[in-house]
Subunit: 142 residues, 2 copies
DNA sequence: ACCCATTTTTAGCCCAGGCTACATTTGGAG
DNA sequence: CTCCAAATGTAGCCTGGGCTAAAAATGGGT
């Protein structure tokens, strides 16, 4: 067994990365579903296909996985609704995404770049780093 | 066709993310291969399996793709060597990774967290954001 | 009421990146 | 030299997340 090594074991890092990737799609989807619902009342698969730039079939299959995992509910040919769990994750995801976005702006990055980079970075930011980003943004221009 | 929209179209963002993911494994592998070579002269598949916490079969298949894409060269039962292209990508990847890591430290994040988060964030940082991070780190403690 | 455009579903394909089980090769210890 | 442990390769499986083509359902406009 051996005592727990205190330096981060490299394999651990990558396990985290793989775990992040597994939840990444779920986070982006529930956030997008929530967005669409705010914008136009209900969310349909076709809305997500446009938003993500993928085919409607890909959306349909992904929604199947999200349903299986308890994030969304649908009936055949019906709209896509978030479960309680889905709403919670959507709120957290949007919050975190926004913190990262505002942080990049505060760092001096342009809006377009901040929008693009935050979309990927958000999924790999721990609580600790998120807090540090908030602190910086507040101090810088709050 | 329509005129190019100037606000970042949401689907564009996600296309970037998907592209980043496609190169992510290649970047981490060539960086790791370079690391191992520095540490112990030659790099073998087992070294990478340990480092990434995956089976040697997964490494073998991944190395096959990297060979196909011109990043590495191997002979049967031989060590893993980087091509010129592979070395270039490894150097760039390490450089960028280090900038992100140092930046997180400068932001006030702990070493463990910085190590973990930088491993994921590095792949989603544009040149512009990377420059902003360098600027901040230099100003903060350079 | 009907028709048709839009939407969703289904079938079937691809590739990346995981795995286990088993076969083969290699090189060093004795 | 021989043998065996370690490394590598091969076969076959899985899931996620992409795609196209074609079928089926829905619902709004006339
Ligand atoms: Mn998001
Ligand atoms: Mn995202
Ligand atoms: Mn790296
Ligand atoms: Mn990485």
């Amino acid at each position: 067994m051996g005592l727990p090594v205190n330096q981060p074991e490299h394999s651990r890092l990558h396990e985290r990365i793989r775990a992040d990737h597994a939840t990444e799609v779920a986070e982006d989807y529930v956030e997008a579903i929530d967005d669409v619902q705010r914008e136009k009342g209900i969310c349909r698969a076709v809305d997500l296909a446009r938003r993500f730039g993928v085919s409607h079939v890909t959306v349909s299959r992904t929604i199947g996985r999200l349903t299986r995992d308890g994030y969304v509910e649908t009936e055949p040919y019906g709209p896509i609704r978030l479960t309680t769990k889905g709403k919670r994750v959507a709120t957290q995801a949007r919050n975190r995404h926004d913190i990262v976005y505002q942080f990049l702006l505060a760092l001096g990055v342009g809006e377009q770049t901040a929008a693009i980079d935050s979309e990927g970075i958000e999924h790999h930011v721990s609580r600790e780093t998120l807090r540090a980003m908030e602190r910086f943004t507040r101090r810088d221009q709050g």
